[in-house]
């Protein structure tokens, strides 16, 4: 649902993704990366996961969420199993939280990027007033944003204070392969605080330092244990730093009152104005009326810096108007945040202001601001677990990046049977089949089943702390090398996850496949019972063919080849076999004369 007469377009978060999938969903490989602070598993499975499925074929999906928030959610919800996606908790070591909200969908060479304020929660997916920017790589602007998102994720992976499961890192690296990076599209708090970057960006846009008015859209204590809010101290810092004379704050009120943010700030709070329809308009249907009713809870974060010569710069993204978000970098106990800067003309500024005026009204009374409660912190040392399915047995690998050696005790449910796991170099293994059985009660997550993840519990003192366990998205260490490669090929062919028989069985799928895909599928099926060397060769040959056929420039092919070379280098293969495969996938290597 959109109403494009104003500066902003109003629709549900899932709508943009739905239209991208329906337009480009037939291209492969299909991958999705979500960054969120709070993650509501049930809501995600109900709302977004179906959108990421097209005719039984799925996007390989990774959701990175703040470790503390995720733990709090898992503690509260009764969810014990996840669907076919991987949940990766992210932890900022110095003390901030992982707060960016980013969506990156890839279908073949098509990409969709979404950046803004919406978490993967009931609120973010429909209940809150959020602000998101979605763009695909058809336009120059879209390509810049995709490059910006890739650049941010790259930096995130490299940041020494960010703790993230290895398999998630691997998957992100693979999904980003071949995307040209753009370091200027996004501002993030990984190295330096956002405030300085905002000032520089505005100066860059306006070419002189004359900010006239600052408009802030930010939530106010919208949830009890939230990191959201407007900090009066930060407000002052912003005002001083940007040199603005006036500050307008648009936020959520309480019982018709706005927060008391000082005399220099005019506070507007969210109200619903029911405007009578114009006479020439057709009466709205019930659905329209329903859709027209916009959410009350404010969760969007935006900063509009107006310049005295007209026009201005709009910053929006995940950063609330708080100290950890704007004035600190990650290394200094700041949050991980992203902002996108956009240069607006005079009319666009007016449109945005109109939009805000439409939704908010001036608060005439105020209430006293108290400091917000601190965000949820993780307890326990286990970040995440991975189920590695070998040819003989299943192993559970625990990652404890904050504990290099020691012992942890885990259980399948709170107060369940405890299993001691010895940790060495930040990793521990559960090898005993009986223990695995005790942990998962015979329904262990499995690549061939509908459930790819679940929750286990770590004993911390007298209580239990949940942590997510999943089958790694990239089979890498689990399974035979040929199975791992086959998994990539199935994905390249757009049949992921493969069915239990390892073949595309759906009729619709068959119709959707091109003639080349058919040939490749046939070759794969034929190789099913061949020896391991044959299976490796067929899979790698198809991979190279597909990458070459993507026709997306040599840098794209080279980057993707590099990723696959990296994956093959990790496989459990004899050196001579690995050598031949790596040589075959060398970028720029031309196919040898083929003897038919």
């Amino acid at each position: 649902m959109s109403r494009a007469n104003k500066g902003l377009r109003w629709q549900r978060t899932a709508d943009a993704m739905r239209s991208f999938v329906s337009l480009y969903g037939s291209s492969a490989p299909r991958r999705a990366i979500f960054c969120t602070y709070d993650f509501d598993v049930e809501r995600f499975e109900a709302v977004l996961a179906p959108e990421l499925t097209r005719r039984g074929r799925q996007f390989r999906t990774l959701v990175t969420a703040d470790a503390g928030a995720l733990q709090a959610h898992l503690q509260q919800s009764g969810k014990r199993r996840f669907g076919r996606f991987q949940v990766a908790p992210v932890k900022c070591r110095p003390g901030g939280v992982f707060h960016p909200k980013l969506v990156l969908l890839a279908a073949g060479r098509h990409h969709l990027v979404g950046v803004g304020s919406a978490n993967l929660t009931a609120g973010g997916l429909g209940g809150n007033l959020e602000m998101m920017l979605f763009a695909d790589n058809r336009t120059e602007h879209g390509r810049r944003l995709v490059g910006g998102a890739a650049n941010f994720l790259d930096r995130l992976l490299r940041h020494e204070s960010i703790l993230m499961p290895l398999s998630a890192r691997e998957f992100i690296e693979m999904a980003l392969a071949g995307i040209p990076r753009d370091p200027t599209a996004f501002s993030d708090s990984l190295k330096t605080p956002l405030l300085g970057q905002m000032k520089a960006a505005h100066y860059d846009h306006a070419r002189h330092n004359d900010a006239r008015e600052l408009t802030i859209l930010s939530p106010w204590h919208s949830a009890a244990a939230s990191t959201d809010g407007v900090d009066p101290a930060v407000l002052r810092k912003l005002k001083d730093s940007l040199g603005t004379s006036r500050v307008n704050v648009y936020t959520e009120g309480r019982n018709g009152r706005g927060p008391g943010l000082g005399t220099h700030a005019r506070v507007h709070i969210r109200t619903e104005k029911i405007s009578a329809p114009a006479k020439d308009e057709t009466p709205a249907t019930d659905t329209d009326a329903l859709l027209e009713r916009r959410p009350m809870r404010v969760h969007a974060k935006a900063y509009l810096v107006e310049s005295s010569r007209g026009g201005g710069t709009l910053f929006f993204g995940s950063a609330n108007c708080t100290q950890p978000a704007l004035t600190r970098s990650v290394s200094h106990r700041g949050n991980v945040e992203i902002l996108v800067a956009s240069k607006l003309g005079t009319t666009e500024v007016a449109s945005v202001r109109n939009d805000l005026a439409d939704l908010f009204s001036l608060a005439e009374k105020s209430f006293l601001v108290t400091s917000a409660p601190p965000p949820a912190q993780t307890s326990g040392v286990v970040l995440a677990g991975h189920l590695l399915k070998g040819s003989a047995k299943t192993r559970l690998r625990l990652e404890t990046p904050t504990l290099s050696a020691g012992v942890v005790r885990i259980a399948g449910e709170p107060k369940g049977r405890l299993i001691r796991v010895r940790i060495r170099r930040g990793v521990g293994f559960v090898d005993n089949p009986a223990d695995i059985q005790a942990l998962f009660k015979s329904s262990e997550p499995d690549r061939t089943s509908e459930s790819w993840g679940g929750v286990l519990w770590e004993r911390v003192g007298t209580s239990f702390a949940p942590f997510p366990v999943s089958v790694p998205l990239i089979a890498g260490e689990s399974g035979a090398p040929d199975d791992v490669l086959l998994d990539f090929v199935w994905e390249e062919l757009g049949v992921w996850p493969a069915t239990a028989q390892g073949e595309a069985s759906d009729d619709d799928e068959a119709q959707d496949l091109a003639a080349d895909d058919d040939k490749d599928l046939e070759a794969l099926t034929e190789a099913k019972h061949e020896g391991q060397l044959d299976r490796l060769a067929v899979a790698v040959s198809i991979l190279r063919k597909r990458i070459a056929a993507a026709d997306a420039g040599s840098s794209y092919s080279e980057a993707r080849l590099r990723i696959f070379r990296g994956q093959i280098a990790k496989l459990d293969l004899p050196a001579h076999v690995r050598g031949v495969l790596l040589d075959y996938l060398r970028p720029g290597k031309r196919a040898r004369r083929v003897i038919r």
Binding site: A500, Q501, K519, E522, A523, E526, A527, H529, E530, G531, Q532, L533, D534, L536, A537, V538, V540, S541, I542, K545, P574, A575, H576, V577, G579, V580, L581, Y584, A591, R592, V594, I595, R596
Partner: protein, 715 residues
């Protein structure tokens, strides 16, 4: 012996012969044609589908004898009597070119079937003509041989060839014949009492049968002989049945009859996870199918199967038709582990083939896994071969170890235990195998020579050769015609010089063993008797005796082969026909060669069983029927060795060989059930998806499913 039975010494052969006679002729001697008394009125032939090496030749000859006697009777005035005019019977045997000599020998061999036939005929005049008809064959190897057949008589403007048995290379009848009164046209249009077609599953056979059936004035009974009536799928039976059922859609009349059709589809469903077919359906299918096809015995003795490993050891495995998929996976670690340089080469080659489309990929991969020369040939480049071939190396290592054991055993008990190696590729591959095996066997002998039992035996070698030479000399003195032959004199000289020359050799050493000497003497006596018969026939002359010269050449070749010292020989399509026949003959003798490398030409029809103990599938065929035929060369009735045949596979781990094995096992399933391998444990799919399966069904269940096609006493 009753009128309606004929004994060949084996019960199952006798049963089949009686059953055929009952199916094709009634007790009154009338042929079943269109009398309407049978429920199978349009049948004029039957398929004899016993397992390989169980004497289908004798079955067919015995059945022919019974049929000829029935056919020569006629009713007159309420009684039956023999019709003298009808005693001019003609039997046509169509077979592949390589089997004409074998058929001729089987028919003529005075100690073989002819002896049983003569005993059955006794002094009864009404049976004598059958003996004459069946034991003095005309051989037609090529078209020109027809010129030497005695000219027939003209009867009602048609040429009638003399009565008798004509053993004919089926290619002669497949070619363009032309019209007129040529002998070929006459052969084609003769009324045949019995038409026997060997290896009838070949399409060449089908073409030849069509020619005869289209042109002949009458074919009264057709006997199709094949151990593998279908190669891959049961529907191939249609072709066979078309030749014996008198209707355009004759084949459908059997296979598409409700019981059989329903049984096949019920079995298909069973393999996909549905309930097994009902018992009544099975019995009905058996009864229907048995009218056209009979299979009295499936296998001679228990074969044992082994996998050759890289270090030359052999690990015993279950028979392929008894394997299930999970067992296949367990086998993988026992396959030959290739060297890393070969693995790298193979992977590069496989990548190349995967890039270049899929044309002929399986063939090229099979070639790549064969010998180094074949692998090089598969690349199309001169320098593209692998450094070593894992299969060949493993085979050589195994052959060395095995030969050492076998030679030591031979030193104890005197029995040579020979190796028969089958390869699908000829030319350089066969040559490489020959060289490699020669080296392995020589090494084995060199090592065994140092062992005490062998040294003890070798001491008596000179004396042993001299004893055999004296025996041969005595045989030549007894028969003047043999003494005059330059071939026999050459044989004698070879033996005498071997006795005088102290240079040791593998074969010469063995002459020190008493039982080995006995085996050699027995073999030479058999061959010299045959030679004498041929020479005598040649001397006596006659219209067609020159045809025996082919046999004469074969015997000469055999003597050469015996005298020669090459311990490994080849039997491939690249070899000259006479050379390879001689190699095959020599392989059956206790002397050299010790190992024979055979290609597909050697995988059907011929006998290589006497002393062969080990059969090696150097590569696997796609077709289980062909594998069965290969094994049938060794696993036959009449083996001198009494221990079970050992069958070996050489398969390379991680390569296309795994696929070949998988396919072979999967295809055995139909063979097992439809051809009545009651002992086979059958695999059944649990998920209903995969071809071969997860759960093995138990013996009882398999018994319930397998069709029993043994001839019943009441047709």
């Amino acid at each position: 012996m009753s009128r309606n039975t004929i004994s060949t010494g084996l019960v199952h052969q006798r049963d089949v012969a009686i059953w055929v006679r009952r199916r094709l002729a009634d007790s009154q001697g009338g042929w079943f044609d269109t009398t309407g008394r049978n429920n199978w009125v349009e049948q004029y032939g039957t398929v004899l589908a016993d397992g390989v090496g169980l004497g289908k030749t004798w079955e067919a000859l015995a059945a022919s004898a019974l049929l000829l006697v029935e056919g020569s009777k006629r009713r007159s005035g309420g009684g039956r009597r023999q019709n003298i005019r009808k005693q001019a019977a003609r039997v046509l045997v169509l077979c592949p070119p390589g089997l004409v000599s074998k058929w001729s020998r089987e028919v003529r061999d005075p100690g073989g079937f002819a002896a049983h036939l003569k005993r059955w005929a006794g002094s009864r005049a009404r049976r004598r003509f059958v003996v004459e008809t069946l034991t003095e064959p005309y051989e037609i190897r090529r078209r020109s041989d027809l010129d030497h057949i005695p000219s027939g008589t003209i009867h009602r403007a048609r040429v009638e060839l003399p009565a008798g048995t004509y053993i004919c290379n089926w290619n002669v009848l497949r070619r363009e014949v032309g019209s007129g009164r040529s002998r070929l046209a006459a052969l084609r249009s003769q009324p045949w009492d019995v038409l026997i077609v060997d290896e009838a599953h070949h399409h060449e056979a089908r073409e030849a049968i069509d020619t005869v059936q289209n042109w002949s004035r009458q074919v009264r009974a057709t006997l199709l002989l094949t151990a593998t009536p279908f190669q891959l799928e049961p529907r191939e039976l249609h072709d066979l049945f078309g030749a014996i059922l008198d209707s355009q859609h004759g084949a459908h009349r059997v296979l598409s009859r409700p019981p059989v059709r329903e049984y096949v589809s019920a079995l298909t469903e069973f393999f996909q996870g549905v309930e097994p077919p009902a018992r009544g359906l099975k019995t009905a299918s058996e009864n229907t199918l048995r009218q056209a096809l009979v299979r009295s015995r499936v296998r001679t003795s228990g074969r044992r199967f082994y996998l050759i490993e890289a270090d030359g050891r052999a690990a015993q495995i279950a028979a392929p038709e008894r394997m299930r998929e999970s067992e296949l996976k367990e086998l993988v670690p026992s396959l030959i582990k290739p060297t890393s340089s070969f693995e790298a080469w193979y992977l590069r080659r496989r990548l190349e083939l995967a890039d270049g489309g899929r044309t002929f990929v399986p063939t090229k991969l099979r070639q790549a896994l064969s010998t180094p020369a074949q692998a090089r040939a598969s690349t199309g480049r001169r320098d593209g071969g692998p450094p070593r071939a894992p299969r060949l190396d493993a085979l050589a290592a195994w052959a060395r170890i095995q030969a050492e054991q076998d030679l030591l055993r031979a030193a104890r008990d005197g029995y040579p235990r020979k190796m028969l190696v089958f390869t699908s590729f000829v030319g350089k591959a066969a040559r490489e195998l020959e060289q490699s095996l020669t080296r392995a066997l020589s090494d084995a002998w060199t090592s065994v020579r140092k062992r005490r039992p062998w040294q003890r035996m070798a001491k008596g070698a000179s004396r042993g050769v001299a004893i055999v030479a004296r025996t041969v000399e005595r045989m030549l003195n007894e028969d003047a015609i043999l003494a005059r032959s330059s071939d026999t004199q050459r044989l004698l000289k070879t033996l005498q010089s071997m006795a005088d020359d102290p240079t040791p050799s593998l074969v010469r050493d063995l002459f020190g063993q008493r039982r080995f000497r006995k085996l050699v003497t027995k073999d030479l006596r058999y061959r010299l008797t045959a030679l004498a018969a041929v020479l005598r026939a040649d001397r006596d002359g006659g219209g067609w005796t020159h045809l025996h010269r082919e046999e004469l050449r074969g015997v000469r070749g055999t003597i050469d082969a015996i005298a020669s010292s090459s311990i490994v020989r080849t039997y491939t399509g690249h070899d000259d026909r006479r050379d390879r026949d001689a190699a095959g003959e020599a392989f059956r003798s206790p002397l050299a060669p010790w190992a024979l490398v055979a290609s597909n030409v050697g995988s059907e029809g011929i006998d290589l069983h006497t002393f062969s103990a080990h059969l090696i599938h150097f590569d696997i065929e796609w077709n289980p029927a062909r594998m069965e035929q290969r094994e049938g060369r060794t696993d036959r009735l009449g083996r001198t060795l009494k221990e079970p045949v050992k069958v070996y596979f050489t398969l390379v781990r991680g390569t296309y060989d795994e696929r070949m094995l998988h396919q072979l096992v999967a295809r055995q399933r139909w063979h097992s059930i439809l051809l009545g391998k009651t002992g086979a444990r059958l695999a059944r799919s649990e998920d209903g998806q995969d071809g071969v399966a997860a759960r093995i069904i138990d013996y009882g269940e398999a018994q319930k499913l397998s069709l029993d096609l043994r001839p019943s006493r009441r047709p």
